[in-house]
C-alpha cells in the first residue's frame, strides 16, 4: 500500500513550487468500486487524492489531451510509466514538461472479481495493512487475499516499478517472471486452431462497438481511428461478426511494439471481453523476435517504427 501522505506531500510540493501546473491522480469515486481519475490544480485540491488498488485506469491515457507546453505531474505505476515513455518517444509530450511521481505497484484489483464473490451490491472495499482486502456487501462481509482479486494483467506483470519517474515513493517491488507473462500466450497457442478461433469469436462477437477499450488506452490517441474513417471504409462499423472481429484484430495490431500490458482496455470493457490475450501475443513476439518491450525507455524506437539501411525487407527503401 503506497504511503498516501507522502504522495500528497509530493503532489502539493510540485504544485506549490510551480514545477507543474496540474497533477493527474485519482480521487474517491461516487460508488465504492470506482475511484475516479482526477486533475489537481492546487495544493488544497490534492487533499482529495486517493490511491488504492481499485484505481483501474491508465492515467497516461489523459496525457495526449493537453497542450505539449503544459507542465504536467502524474502518478505513475510501472505500466503507466512505460506508457508515458512510449508516448514521449512518439512525440506526444516532451519529457521535460512532465514530472512523474512513481509508485511501485502491487497490482490493480478487477472489480468484477469482487462482485463475482460478494454479489453486485458492494458497500465498501478496504485494503488492510497486511494486504488483505475487506469487502462489505449486502450479502455480508468478505476477506480476500489481494492476489485472488488482481486483474490478470497485474497477476502476470513483469515490470511493476516505475522506470523513469522523477521520484519514487515506496519500496521497489520484485520484478515479475517473464515465464509467467508468457504462459497464457503459450497455452493459448497450444490449442487447436478451431478452439482458438471459437474463443476469439466468442469474445470479439460480444462487442457492442462502444470503444471503451480504445478510449482507455494511452496508445490509442489517433485523431481519427480507422473504424471512423469513411472513405475508404476499413471495416464494417456495425456489431456484425465481420465488424467486431475486424475491430479487435486491427486494434491489437496497431499496438504492436507499443502496448505496455497495462490491461486498461479489458478493465474498461462493459462486456467483459478478453482482449489482452491478443496484445500479449504481440508483446511476446516483440520480446522473442526483437528483444523489445514497449516503453522501457523513451528513446529506443519500437521495431515497427524504425527503418535501417540494412533492413532485410528492401521494399520500404
Amino acid at each position: 500500500m503506497p504511503d498516501i501522505d507522502a504522495l500528497k506531500a509530493e503532489a502539493k510540493r510540485i504544485l506549490d513550487e510551480g514545477v507543474v501546473e496540474m497533477v493527474i491522480g485519482f480521487r474517491a469515486g461516487d460508488t465504492p468500486l470506482h475511484p475516479q481519475p482526477a486533475f489537481f490544480k492546487t495544493a488544497e485540491e490534492v487533499d482529495a487524492l486517493v490511491y488504492d488498488p481499485l484505481c483501474q485506469n491508465n492515467l497516461a491515457a489523459y496525457l495526449t489531451r493537453f497542450p505539449k507546453t503544459q507542465k504536467i505531474g502524474m502518478l505513475v505505476r510501472g505500466c503507466e510509466n512505460r506508457s508515458v515513455n512510449a508516448l514521449v518517444f512518439e512525440g506526444r509530450h516532451p519529457r521535460e514538461a512532465l514530472y512523474l511521481i512513481g509508485v511501485p505497484c502491487e497490482g490493480i484489483i478487477d472489480w468484477r472479481r469482487i462482485v463475482e464473490n460478494t454479489g453486485e451490491e458492494v458497500i465498501s472495499v478496504v485494503e488492510q495493512s497486511g494486504g488483505a482486502i475487506l469487502v462489505e456487501s449486502k450479502a455480508g462481509s468478505f476477506t480476500f487475499e489481494k492476489s485472488a482479486l488482481l486483474h490478470e494483467s497485474c497477476s502476470r506483470c513483469i515490470h511493476p516499478n516505475p522506470l523513469s519517474a522523477d521520484v519514487v515513493i515506496g519500496e521497489a517491488r520484485p520484478e515479475g517472471d517473464p515465464a509467467l507473462a508468457r504462459k497464457e500466450v503459450v497455452d493459448f497457442a497450444a490449442l487447436p486452431m478451431e478452439e482458438r478461433n471459437a474463443w476469439f469469436r466468442q469474445e470479439a462477437e460480444r462487442c457492442i462497438r462502444c470503444y471503451a477499450c480504445r478510449e482507455a488506452c494511452p496508445m490509442c490517441y489517433c485523431e481519427e481511428c480507422f473504424v471512423d474513417h469513411i472513405s475508404p471504409r476499413w471495416t464494417e462499423s456495425g456489431a456484425t461478426p465481420a465488424g467486431m472481429q475486424g475491430w479487435h484484430i486491427v486494434r491489437a495490431f496497431h499496438q504492436t511494439g507499443r502496448c505496455t500490458s497495462c490491461g486498461a482496455c479489458e478493465r474498461a470493457c462493459p462486456m467483459d471481453i478478453k482482449m489482452t490475450y491478443l496484445t500479449e501475443k504481440l508483446n511476446e513476439d516483440m520480446r522473442q523476435k526483437y528483444s523489445f518491450e514497449a516503453g522501457m525507455d523513451a528513446v529506443t524506437p519500437p521495431p515497427f517504427s524504425t527503418i535501417t539501411l540494412d533492413d532485410k525487407s528492401r521494399f520500404v527503401i
Binding site: 481519475p37 471503451a212 478510449e215 482507455a216
Partner: protein, 340 residues
C-alpha cells in the same frame, strides 16, 4: 385483479407460453445476464441484484439491423420486420418505462418506424418488480419506481414461494387465465413489499428545476469540470435503456443497408461533412447527453428521458456518476447573466 403464480408452476407456464410466443427471459451467458430466447429446459435467472447488462431496448432497436438488401445490378428489397409474437418475461420496470419513452420517438403520428412498431405490437411485457432495488438505481428520483407499471402488460411481485401477478392490460390478462385469485393477505403483503421497496430508495438528487439549471448554465465551466475524466466512449449511452441514436450505413460488400447504434459521445456523431464539428470536445458531448435526458426530452414530451436504471453509473470505466453530476448541477445559479 391480482392472481397468484406459484414458483414451482412457473416452468409449466413458460412452456405453455412458448407454444405460441417466442419467450425471452434473463439468462446467464458468460458472467452476466442477457434477455435471450428461453429454450426448453433453460431457466430464467432472477437472483442477480442488478439488471441485464444490455437493456431490452436491444430487442426492439437491435444494435445492428439490416433495413434493406440490394445488389450491384440495381434493385433492392426491404427486410421484413419481425412479426412473430414475443413475450418478454422478467423485464424490470425501468426498462419497460424506457420503451414507452422510446415510443414517443419511433411511433410519432407522422413518422412511425415500421420495425419498431411491429416489434412493439408483437410483444407482450411481463414485468418483475424490484423488491430489493439496486444501489445504483434511482428510479424513484426520476418519477418512476421499483414497481412502476408504465409500459407493462402485467407485473409480478416476488412473495417468496410465489409471485403475485397484477395484470394491467388485456394482453396481460390473456396470459394468466388459469391462476387463482390472490387472497387479501397476499395482496396486503405485496403492497407492503412494494411500499418498502420504494421507501428504501434514497432521493439521488433534486429533480425539481433541474431542466432550468441545465439550460441556464449552458455556457458554464460546470460542463468542463464534470467531463474532465470522461473517456468519450459509448458505454453510458449504449447501455442506456432510453438512448436511441443510430447511424445508417451501406455495407456495400454484403449489399445491406444497416442501422447501427450510434452515440452523441462519439466525435464522429456530430462531425459534419465540411469538417466542422459543433460538438468538438467531450465537454459539449457530455452537455448534450445530460441536457437531452434532463432538458430536451422535457421540452418535447414533458418527461425526463431517464428511468434511473443506473447502468451508466455501474459500468462507466472511469466511475462517472450521473447522480453526482446532477447534484452538482443543482448547486449552480438559476439565472446566469450572459455577456453580450
Amino acid at each position: 385483479m391480482n392472481l397468484i403464480l406459484k414458483k414451482d408452476h412457473l416452468t409449466d407456464l413458460l412452456n405453455t407460453w412458448r407454444g405460441n410466443h417466442e419467450v425471452y427471459a434473463p439468462q446467464s451467458l458468460q458472467k452476466f445476464t442477457h434477455f435471450l430466447p428461453l429454450l426448453e429446459g433453460s431457466e430464467p435467472v432472477f437472483d442477480q441484484a442488478h439488471n441485464t447488462r444490455i437493456p431490452p431496448k436491444a430487442l426492439f432497436l437491435p444494435i445492428s439491423e439490416a433495413l434493406l438488401k440490394f445488389t450491384r445490378f440495381g434493385g433492392y428489397e426491404q427486410v421484413p420486420s419481425q412479426k412473430a409474437p414475443r413475450l418478454i418475461f422478467g423485464i424490470r420496470p425501468c426498462d419497460a418505462r424506457a420503451l414507452t419513452l422510446l415510443d414517443t420517438v419511433f411511433k410519432q403520428e407522422r413518422y412511425t418506424d415500421p420495425h419498431w412498431q411491429t416489434r412493439r405490437d408483437a410483444t407482450v411485457l411481463v414485468g418483475l418488480g424490484c423488491h430489493e432495488p439496486c444501489q445504483t438505481g434511482f428510479c424513484t428520483t426520476v418519477g418512476s419506481g421499483p414497481f412502476d407499471r408504465a409500459g407493462l402488460d402485467a407485473i409480478l411481485t416476488d412473495l417468496g414461494e410465489e409471485f403475485l401477478v397484477e395484470t394491467l392490460t388485456e394482453k396481460g390478462e390473456c396470459l394468466f387465465t388459469q391462476l387463482k385469485r390472490a387472497s387479501d393477505e397476499q395482496n396486503a403483503r405485496a403492497m407492503d413489499l412494494q411500499q418498502a421497496a420504494r421507501e428504501s430508495m434514497p432521493t439521488a438528487f433534486e429533480v425539481e428545476g433541474i431542466k432550468q439549471k441545465l439550460d441556464a448554465n449552458f455556457a458554464s465551466p460546470y460542463w468542463e469540470e464534470i467531463s474532465r475524466s470522461c473517456l468519450g466512449c459509448g458505454v453510458c449511452t449504449f447501455l442506456c435503456p432510453t438512448c436511441f441514436c443510430f447511424d445508417i450505413v451501406d455495407e456495400a460488400q454484403r449489399g445491406e443497408r444497416v442501422r447501427n447504434w450510434d452515440t452523441c459521445m462519439f466525435r464522429t456523431y456530430s462531425l459534419e461533412a465540411s469538417g466542422h464539428n459543433p460538438r468538438p470536445s467531450r465537454v459539449e458531448r457530455t452537455r448534450q447527453r445530460l441536457s437531452h435526458k434532463y432538458s430536451y426530452w422535457v421540452d418535447q414530451i414533458s418527461q425526463i428521458g431517464c428511468t434511473g436504471c443506473g447502468r451508466c453509473v455501474r459500468y462507466c470505466p472511469v466511475g462517472l456518476d450521473i447522480r453526482a453530476m446532477l447534484r452538482k448541477a443543482q448547486q449552480l445559479p438559476s439565472e446566469v447573466l450572459h455577456a453580450k
